[in-house]
């Protein structure tokens, strides 16, 4: 197996960017995404001998998520989840959304965003929705690849990503993020 490391690197390194995207948003509190990427590759390398083909990107994403979960359990920490109130405290330009005549959520969100605010709001989503968004919208996985990585039906992935996007949009709208959108 050790002699296969060059083949392993050749097969997996092209996906470093997408693994990094997954790691950035799957990482447990206190861990660096670069550490998670490295641990993902080390674990994937260990299992490479039993890899039977299939979608390499999906396999690496599944490995990354498993490593993140096991590391999170080991640390006995949950991902940092800011309460919405705390979020509103630091996001600029906060304004309430609700009641009659409220602004359309989509309009508010599309009006302007910045990546940091999006990242904070994404962290507030339930993990299944967050993971689906990270895989499909951030890392560029197809629904089929995401379903393979997560081991759940494609319809479930599509429903989760849809609910997650809506929730993300609402969180951003509630936070009144309204600048920086090109």
């Amino acid at each position: 197996m050790d002699g296969d490391h060059r083949a392993f690197l050749e097969a997996t390194l092209p996906y470093l960017d997408v693994v990094y995207q997954v790691a950035r948003h799957a990482v447990a509190g206190g861990q660096e995404p670069e550490d998670l990427v490295q641990e993902t590759y080390l674990r994937a390398y260990t299992a490479f001998g039993s890899y039977r083909g299939g979608d390499m990107r999906a396999w690496l994403a599944a490995t990354c998520l498993n490593v993140a979960r096991s590391d999170g359990r080991r640390r006995r920490r949950r991902p940092v989840e800011l309460p919405a109130v705390a979020l509103l405290d630091w996001l600029p330009g906060v304004r309430a959304v609700g009641g009659e005549g409220e602004a359309d959520v989509a309009d508010v969100v599309i009006a302007g965003l910045d990546a940091q605010a999006v990242s904070r709001c994404l962290a507030l989503l339930p993990e299944p929705q967050r993971v689906c968004i990270v895989l499909m919208d951030v890392a560029g996985y197809t629904a089929r690849e995401a379903s393979e990585a997560l081991g759940c039906p494609r319809g479930t992935v599509l429903a989760r990503v849809h609910r997650g996007r809506r929730r993300l949009a609402r969180l951003l709208a509630e936070a009144g993020v309204s600048h920086g959108w090109p």
Binding site: A106, G155, R165, R170
Partner: protein, 238 residues
Amino acid sequence: MDGHDRLLGAFLAGELGPADTRRWDAHLLECEQCWRAVREDRAGRQAAHLLRQPAPPGLADRVVFAVEVAAAGITPGHQTRPRGRRRRWLAGAAAVAAGLAIALAVLLLPGGRAGMPAAVAAVARYAQAITPPAGQQGPGTGGAAPVEVGRPVTITAGGQQIVVRTWRLGHLEAVVAVSGRPFPMPPGARGMSGGGMAWSARLGKLGLYCLNGRTSELVAAPVPAAELPGLAARLPPA
């Protein structure tokens, strides 16, 4: 609601057949709630696109380095350790500028010593990989002020997180590892008198000097271990 979300999700992903797609198109013209859901979905997707970010420079080298090291199977005592632990000994290592060069150097090193604590072994390996042999280091440190070489590197070994920095003093390069946990004494190490729990050891041409305390520091350099306390005193505080 779940079934509705699945259908809408499939519609938005373009995965419905032509007839179902036409039905949804017609439905969206009449249903304000679903039309709003579509707009929110699009807004959320566009927002998530903002999070795309390429992997940082050096990450590929770092991954290659870690896999090369794992492939070489040079973890001390790895034959008696579970694989998971074996793989972690250099986790976090090497945001190293010369990752590949260092990996090659590591691969050329002799095997590890049984019973060597993983944290100490990792620091020793790192030091052996990046510091030239003593014979190539020139006449010594002289009175040179320490200059940091490269950037700090984080290593996780034996579950212990260690920050490693490299200092150059004249022709000598020394590695200083700092951890919030004590560095265990390796076999053959000698306890030293004085404040704190200090020990020194020799690994081939590499001298090790450790001062355990609230923050523990392990200095590794290709000089006699007896010279390391003096050398450590010349380095900036951790």
